[in-house]
Symmetry: C2
Subunit: 380 residues, 2 copies
């Protein structure tokens, strides 16, 4: 059945009942990782994506509290994955809290965060948040009495403890992504074009239908909104990359485009509901001010001008989970999925469901306790 599907990852062998498939369009690949990949999806159902936002694995890694939150976050993801059985998962940034991780390779925590998805054979993609790539931040309390606690820096089979074996310099975006990609055949993440570095997670995935493999159902764009080791920004260069890529693969704006990044652009502030959440906005919590990127450098202008751009999904604000219209777009927050990070609002995950004929995007929020709310149709 899958005719255009070359370089089929191993996982496709266990997913043969599916009829859609993914085709990776654009990425800078490692020599060890093919540039193209494809993935078959379920036949009858629409294509369902679960967004896991702000997991913050590794937060307060040296305390009892921290590792306990990570266990709870795994429970949230497991519950959502079992309730929704999505076709795909998107890790929407702040997968880890790197500034609390004093080991050389923060990928240890990243790997824990993707484990519930991997264990179920579900493919995924990820974008970076501001907490993923940051230097270790020394707590000032450690410099007063009783001093620096003994940090356990055990990694895999090599045991180490104490300061000498620990590492306080952080793990860079490129290394985190390298580790994700090389260790996981299910990962659809990419490094992005080198000319956009230090911004890394910039790539696009093409969703194809097996009924008509030459006619894409949608384009899923992933952009790195910065933060941590460099400013919280989507750069002019990224906007230009998007412009050229869109011109190349979707010149007539015929294929719908859905966009994912971590930190809200400034437009989110304009679209935000004032008190509570009223139609046409849809959501359940509106508990804080939108924390936006540091500047707007062109990406929003391009997106609002493209009729094919349907919706943007971001994380970052744990106390916001609304979708609001903005120009011809929808601007959506995900839902805080992790027990790491600030805020005690109940945990959950935003689900995005794409239907092919006629094309539609529907979204709702699935909570840890199994309940569902805030369903909204994001396309005509």
């Amino acid at each position: 059945m899958p005719s255009v599907c070359w370089l089929v990852p191993r996982v496709t062998q266990v997913m043969i009942a599916k009829l859609f498939y993914f085709l990776l369009i654009s990425a800078v690949a490692l020599p060890t990782k093919a540039e193209e990949g494809c993935h078959q999806l379920r036949s009858t159902a629409p294509f369902k994506i679960a967004l896991f936002a702000d997991l913050h694995f590794g937060e307060d890694a040296w305390t009892h509290w921290g590792p306990l939150q990570d266990v709870k976050s795994i429970k949230v993801m497991s519950s959502v994955l079992d309730d929704e059985t999505p076709d795909f998962v998107i890790y929407l940034g702040d997968v880890i809290t790197a500034n609390n991780i004093a080991i050389k390779n923060a990928s240890l925590y990243w790997d824990q965060a993707v484990s519930p998805t991997r264990a179920r054979g579900i493919p995924w993609a990820s974008v970076f948040g501001n907490h993923d790539d940051a230097a270790f931040v020394w707590p000032i309390e450690w410099f007063s009495s009783p001093g620096i606690p003994e940090i356990r820096c055990r990694v895999a089979n090599s045991s180490c403890s104490g300061e000498e074996e620990c590492h306080f310099e952080g793990t860079q975006r490129l290394e985190l992504m390298k580790n994700e990609i090389e260790r996981n055949t299910l990962s659809y993440s990419r490094y992005g074009p080198k000319e956009l570095w230090p911004s890394i997670s910039n790539y696009v995935l093409q969703l194809l239908s097996s009924d008509n493999p030459k006619s894409p159902v949608a384009l899923l764009y992933f952009l790195d909104s910065g933060g941590g080791s460099y400013p919280e920004i989507i750069s002019s260069a990224q906007a230009e990359w998007f412009r050229q890529k869109a011109l190349e693969i979707n010149p007539d704006s015929r294929v719908p485009e859905i966009i994912f990044w971590h930190i809200p652009s400034r437009a989110y502030k304009k679209a935000a509901p004032w008190f509570g959440i009223h139609k046409p906005c849809m959501g359940s919590i509106n508990k804080e001010r939108v924390a936006t990127q540091e500047a707007e450098m062109g990406i929003m202008k391009l997106l609002v001008e493209r009729p094919s751009a349907k919706a943007i999904f971001v994380g970052h604000n744990h106390g916001l989970d609304w979708c609001c219209p903005y120009e011809k777009l929808w601007l959506c927050f995900a839902r805080h999925t992790g027990y790491g990070g600030y805020g005690n609002w109940d945990r959950g995950a935003r689900i995005v469901e794409i239907t092919e004929q006629p094309f539609s995007v529907k979204s709702w929020i699935r909570m840890e306790d199994g309940s569902v709310h805030s369903e909204v149709v994001l396309s005509p």
Copy 2:
């Protein structure tokens, strides 16, 4: 003549006319660097130290402006060294602006900063400032059009340019100090006790008289006041180290102690003159508010209680150059020496002169243009 002087550095061969000498009391040494060192000083004159504060080498390293400032800073140091011919130099932190340096080894710039002193065969010691050990800070402008400039990352004989060969992770305190010590026989800097890490530049030098080598003239304490990769702080552990060290080598507070670190402690705020500078304070500029450490964790309490502690010298505030009494101590600012760093006040260096019999500490400021001002006696 130098009877207690073991492990005489090579430099002593060219300084045989001197009668005082230094003996390093306390340091954690590398295997390649002896723990003890000694240094002979001039016979007739008192012991004269030049403080070079806030040089900020490597600032705006990718522009034309930046490297030009470094050339000017070398001229300031050269002028002061030739006018004063000091016996010793203290680099009082912010030797480099690490957050502007995109090469793997920021020691390249550190080395430029110590070169005028080394070229004259003058020994020196250094303490860290908040700008010496920091990650590269990406300017937000680089993410707008026209993008990231081509950075020249040429190091020594290996030529490299462009992003791939550059390095944006910073050079840690330990590596900077390792490079200073291993490359320079004239350096009296030390790593400090390992239990104080990440705080590095914590050590004490003993100034001995050749007339009576068993009776030290003064103890010079160096403390790392943090900043950059960890909080701006002198920790409880550092205070405890000072307490124990002082008890060990100066139990009866008989030997005068002079202290050097980079960021003013909170006591400086209490001692600061209000408008202008009036007696008993002495200085020439009082142009900004004291920018203090983030907290006070015990060092000041120990110092004000010791009759032997005579004065503290700091840098950090480029617009302050006063000395003011505080309890039984003197709190002094150095003078902004470098053309790097904020502020356009004329450049200069504070000179500290120690006389043995009777013991006295005198200080003044020598300007780049050769003028001298703000002379003050810091001991009875």
